[in-house]
Symmetry: C2
């Protein structure tokens, strides 16, 4: 195994149709081309001769953990330096190996349903304080269940696409009558997404122990949100136009197989959860995540938030067990969002709503000082501040995620990025 | 034209795969079989030679109003008694005409996204009174926008399938801690559904004038709801497990073409709506709807509600204009629910929550006296009452819808029916 990244699975775009690919360093392996050569010879995949020769990963996702492990092992063997089946087949290499830079990314699955959770305690507390005021921060149900709503599937985009500022109904502070305006409070939400594997039948529940086998893999997720629209519309049925104009994900799914070295303990839950949410072993993933803004015309990343997925109060298995408690069926390729990932400190708040205390305290952002900042940036430019309350037209939101453990193993989620375009013309 | 019903379009099940069919009295015409014979010779459909040779209607839906009108005109001509192309082709008749009774109904479209609105003023008022108490019935936003939430696509069922009573978290009255129980307050919601035609691109809004061209057709819709689960979970992000275990529709889509004779004026809106919701001509559909319960072992229909779709405060074009205001894309085959249809009087409340004042006043139901009640039912049985607060296991919920106008034209939506099964075993 050269790098866990090789097991990210995604769809790439050729000249003719989309292909399923696996990233290996700066190359992409077209696994459909390998499958055409009948190189997946394991007991499961030798019977599923076309699961990679599709435009989306849904069929492969539906096969479950044994098939995923078999695919990973086969790829590791095929791509190892001691194996000749690929290395010595120049024609196959020509057909199956593509430079990463030449590839256009697409959505990796047909997403039948998208559900967004709300399982960061700090985020729920901060939002509750802003929307409902002190004493009403956490709703009484929040500690008992992973709260969620159904999101919009049609407007899920892949990293690299840009987002038009949405029009919507909003109340001007002080006024009783709404107006129709391009959102004045466009925000992002720094989240992780989880793609569902084999799923469950309607009328069946997935027990929490074992529900980790439903996690095909994870991506970064930006739940673009218009706060002024959301605030006016969301009572009593939840967010609608405030969110359905766009949700964006990073295109490379990092599989749960690849994430195993980064399993860690999940936070303690007090009060104890109900039996159907009680896990024999509470584990989650240690994933660093960050959200930056690159303003129009700049190459500097101004950091809004850096935090970690492991702070989330409920785990994916708990979210899956709750989602299916009443018998709701999850289908292969369904997408779950975790909800905004926020830590307790400043610089750890995963959206502008929180970071600016509901728009009342504009942020003074400074550029990230690391390898992402161009070498030739001088100290004067590094010292420049960026003032933001909500997003300006032209702002690029760029989210990143990475794992690193004490054994020195590293894994990158790449980025989820999109810029804000001016609103469209209303006819 | 023998009956507007012939233009209901739906999918039927043959021995091998699903077929798209049109109902004509007690027969179903397999329009894919007609298309195979190149009988759709109009300018649009002659170029779309396989739109009916599919398992779902999505492609035909995407073609828009001109194609729908052409299909209707071609079918009327082909099936008229003066035309020989079908009548004189015994082999074609054998292949394309199937008795309605032999057909198993399927979902007519692949539903990418399902949105449920909440546009009956009486229903919103009644629910608000029950959930939030007097003085808080209508939220301030309600008169300004057709309020909606995103629903669950995976669990949309067609009439005839049965529904397991869902498990869920609920609060016992008086307790502060939730428990996990099979819902003790299982309810239905009497709604109409609208299938979307050609849709819009992401980042585009559909103007309200002309949005009626997006209405491919309508169905009856039962938004099954567990009130105890909904009540505990829905703040602040809206309904989730209280609704995602099942939503059910009648299988025959009655097309907007067929509904034209039943257009009528929509209710006046006070205060005036915002410009993007202002229609040059406010029209809606005059459709009678009813919801009955048939208890286990009985053949009597006990009527809970009878009301009319035309009472809805916002129209489909307004719902479509609002849904797309921020640029959210609707795709062909997307489903909109209207929200529960309730009138002001007793016997006009489209769900048990309302009809029983939140479960406080059990209903005494009497059988419907009409052609649906078997002739041999004697007066003693007709006089029997059925007591219900919420649904019992074994109860069949059966919704019906029909149009009739002063010219004597009639049109039936058929039924949307499903029975309540006991909850599944939790592992
Ligand atoms: Ca979110
Ligand atoms: Ca409803
Ligand atoms: Mg979103
Ligand atoms: Mg429903
Ligand atoms: Ni190709």
């Amino acid at each position: 195994m050269t790098s866990p990244q090789q097991h990210s699975l995604k769809e790439t775009k050729g000249s003719d149709r989309n292909h399923i690919g696996v990233a290996l360093g700066q190359q992409v392996i077209d696994v459909g081309a390998l499958q055409e050569q009948r190189l997946f010879t394991g007991p499961i995949l030798s019977q599923k001769g076309s699961c990679f020769r599709k435009e989306h990963l849904n069929e492969f996702m539906s096969l479950g953990t044994s098939a995923w492990a078999e695919a990973r092992a086969t790829l590791q063997r095929l791509l190892s330096s001691s194996e000749g089946a690929v290395r010595d087949n120049r024609k196959l290499i020509e057909a199956a190996v593509v430079p990463l830079a030449s590839v256009a990314m697409q959505l990796p699955a047909q997403i039948g349903d998208y559900t967004d959770f709300y399982v960061s305690k700090q985020h729920a507390f901060n939002c509750g304080a802003l929307f409902r005021g002190p004493g009403h921060e956490l709703q009484p149900n929040w500690v008992h269940m992973p709260v969620a709503y159904h999101g919009r599937s049609s407007s899920i985009l892949v990293s690299g696409q840009n987002i038009k500022r949405p029009w919507g109904q909003a109340l001007t502070p002080g006024s009783l009558n709404p107006e129709v305006v391009p959102s004045k409070a466009l925000d992002f939400e720094l989240e992780m997404g989880c793609f569902i594997g084999s799923g469950n039948g309607l009328g069946e529940s997935i027990p929490v122990d074992g529900a980790d086998s439903q996690i095909f893999g994870m991506v970064l997720l930006n739940d673009w949100t218009a706060r002024d629209i959301q605030k006016w519309e969301y009572v009593p049925l939840g967010p609608f136009n405030g969110k359905n104009f766009a949700t964006q994900i990073s295109p490379w799914i990092v599989t749960s197989e690849a994430l195993k070295p980064f399993l860690c303990e999940a936070p303690e839950q007090q009060p104890p959860v109900l039996p159907y949410l009680q896990e024999s072993k509470r584990s989650t993933y240690d994933i660093h995540v960050a959200a930056d803004i690159i303003p129009a015309g700049s190459d500097l990343h101004y950091r809004v938030a850096r935090t970690n997925f492991q702070t989330m109060y409920f785990t994916w298995p708990q979210m899956i067990a709750h989602h299916t408690l009443g018998g709701c069926n999850l289908r292969p390729g369904d997408l779950l969002g975790s909800g905004t990932i926020s830590g307790g400190g400043p610089g750890q708040r995963g959206c502008l709503l929180e970071a600016t205390c509901g728009g009342r305290e504009p942020l003074q952002l400074t550029p990230v000082v690391n390898e992402e900042v161009p070498q030739d940036v001088d100290d004067t430019r590094r010292a420049q501040r960026l003032m933001r309350t909500y997003l300006n037209d032209g702002d690029m939101v760029i989210m990143s995620g990475w794992c690193e453990n004490s054994s020195g193993e590293q894994l990158s989620f790449g980025t989820c990025q999109g810029a804000v375009l001016p609103s469209h013309k209303l006819l």
